[in-house]
């Protein structure tokens, strides 16, 4: 572990890299300087807090505390996923159920199969990884759903007029939206190891773990993300599509722009 040597002073020097981004933004008139600065400040503060909190939780090694942290991560991810639903009613509730079930099923499987242990230093980061991936998947699903309902609203109306139930009328939209949530995970699997060395594996190699051992973790992570993003996308889409209709099974015009 001795070769991990990022100190406060090296970090300060690393800040030069942020300035590079700022300069590019300035030259190209991208108007993103404010976003970059706020983003960097937020990242530093959030990560510092998380660092100390993790340190505390790992030291405490208490099951209830670990579970509580699991819930906090799930809530937080759901909150962010809900915001990406922009305008879809009950987006937070739908995301919460999707992320909760997705993470619980995956984590339970991992623990029961002995892939990871129920200790904070494994549960917390793995939960974070799963929840954030589901969050991204749900965000993409929601965006795709809103867009396709808008694009294909005439079709949906015609199907309803022919006496179709809301599910049959939106089946192709539902499928496309679930698929679009899972797509990035599937795409990234294809290039795994060829283009990028993913986070988990890189981290382990950084920390001095034998790369052959590290890839085993990465394979496990791949399986886990596949399962969790599909569970998350399916649940959130099945809950969200209903919000596009009212109780008279009419298409809700406010949601399609």
């Amino acid at each position: 572990m001795s070769n991990l040597t990022v100190s406060n002073s090296t970090l300060m020097l690393g800040f030069v890299l942020v300035i590079v981004a700022l300069v590019i933004g300035y030259i190209e008139k991208l108007h993103i300087d404010k976003d970059i600065i706020i983003g960097v400040i937020r990242a530093v503060i959030q990560l510092s807090v998380v660092g100390y909190v993790l340190k505390f939780i790992i030291k405490a090694n208490d099951n209830w505390l670990t579970l509580a942290f699991f819930l906090i991560i799930v809530m937080n991810a759901s909150w962010n996923a809900g915001k990406r639903g922009n305008g879809i009613p009950k987006a937070f509730q739908s995301s919460l159920l999707a992320i909760f079930v997705g993470t619980t099923v995956t984590l339970t499987t991992l623990v029961l199969t002995g892939s990871i242990k129920f200790v904070p230093e494994q549960i917390v980061p793995v939960t974070g990884m799963i929840a954030s991936n589901i969050m991204v998947a749900i965000g993409l699903s929601y965006r795709n759903m809103k867009q396709t309902f808008t694009d294909r609203h005439q079709q949906v109306l015609e199907k309803l007029a022919l006496g179709a139930d809301i599910k049959l009328a939106s089946l192709d939209i539902l499928r496309d939206s679930i698929k679009s949530g899972m797509q990035p995970t599937i795409d990234s699997i294809k290039t795994l190891g060829l283009v990028s060395l993913p986070g988990m594996m890189s981290g382990l190699i950084f920390a001095g773990v034998d790369p052959v051992k590290a890839i085993k973790y990465q394979i496990m992570v791949t399986f886990m993300l596949l399962a969790s993003t599909s569970i998350g996308s399916i649940i959130s889409c099945y809950l969200a599509y209903k919000q596009f209709f009212n109780e008279r099974k009419q298409l809700n015009n406010d949601l399609i722009s």
């Binding site: 294909r152 309803l160 007029a161 022919l162 006496g163 139930d165 008279r248 099974k249």
Partner: protein, 244 residues
């Protein structure tokens, strides 16, 4: 005591009989009016689109709705088809408020053919199989072929791509989706617009046949011939009925 019992039984019998006769009269009256619209208004935010529409349509009628563009014809048809709901007033189907009827069931009985329809899926089959799918039934190729022939098309169309049919063919195929399982009321919203004279006549003939077999038809049109041939004509102007 015995006398009293007898009396009350007699009374009960009379009440039952009266109720039955009354029910009979009521049913008999209602069956005639298939659609009844009372004080119907529709507005989007502050814009009034339809106001105070009152209308009775009897079973088996063929009613033609005319009026300038933007007067609210399609909006009224969409409300009758339960695609949108009125802001106030009510629509009754055979005496029952449509809000109290399951919308899926209702739309299979009151079928709305859209102005400028689109075809969905990849092939014509995806479209013509849809009414079967809705009713959880197997696709019946023979039946569908029969319907295609009614509108001057043939079996080869079933497997055609939706992109390989002309605009007029598209309109006729879309109309068949509404008719493969004949509804009780068919609402056609300018479905012959853009068809040539020959195909217009074919569609008219087909709708007339269905009407003669008891199908109630509400049609919206700007077509001169259709307006002149109209048995019952209702003019909508500025969201109101201009004549009855």
């Amino acid at each position: 005591m015995a006398l009293f019992l007898l009396d009350s039984n007699l009374l009960l019998g009379m009440i039952i009989e009266y109720n039955e006769v009354h029910q009979h009269i009521k049913e008999w009256c209602i069956v005639e009016k298939i659609i009844e619209i009372k004080n119907l208004s529709y507005q989007v935010k502050d814009t009034k689109i339809l106001h105070n529409i009152n209308l009775n349509i009897e079973e088996g009628e063929d009613v033609t709705f005319v009026g300038p563009s933007g007067s609210g014809k399609s909006t009224l048809m969409r409300i009758i088809a339960s695609m949108i709901s009125a802001s106030s007033g009510e629509v009754l189907f055979k005496g029952q408020k449509i809000e109290n009827i399951d919308p899926i069931e209702y739309r299979q009985k009151i079928s709305y053919a859209f102005q400028q329809p689109t075809l969905f899926g990849k092939t014509i089959k995806d479209n013509l199989a849809f009414p079967f799918e809705v009713r959880k039934q197997e696709f019946d190729r023979q039946k569908v072929t029969g319907y295609l022939e009614m509108v001057n098309l043939n079996e080869t169309y079933i497997d055609k791509s939706v992109n390989d049919v002309s605009g007029g063919e598209k309109q006729r195929i879309a109309l068949l989706r509404n008719l493969i399982f004949p509804p009780e009321v068919l609402i056609t919203d300018e479905v012959t617009t853009g068809l040539d004279t020959e195909n217009k006549a074919i569609v008219h003939r087909m709708l007339k046949d269905f009407n003669e077999q008891g199908l109630t038809i509400l049609k919206v049109t700007h077509d001169e011939t259709e307006i002149n041939d109209a048995a019952i004509k209702i003019t909508i102007r500025d969201g109101e009925i201009a004549n009855v």
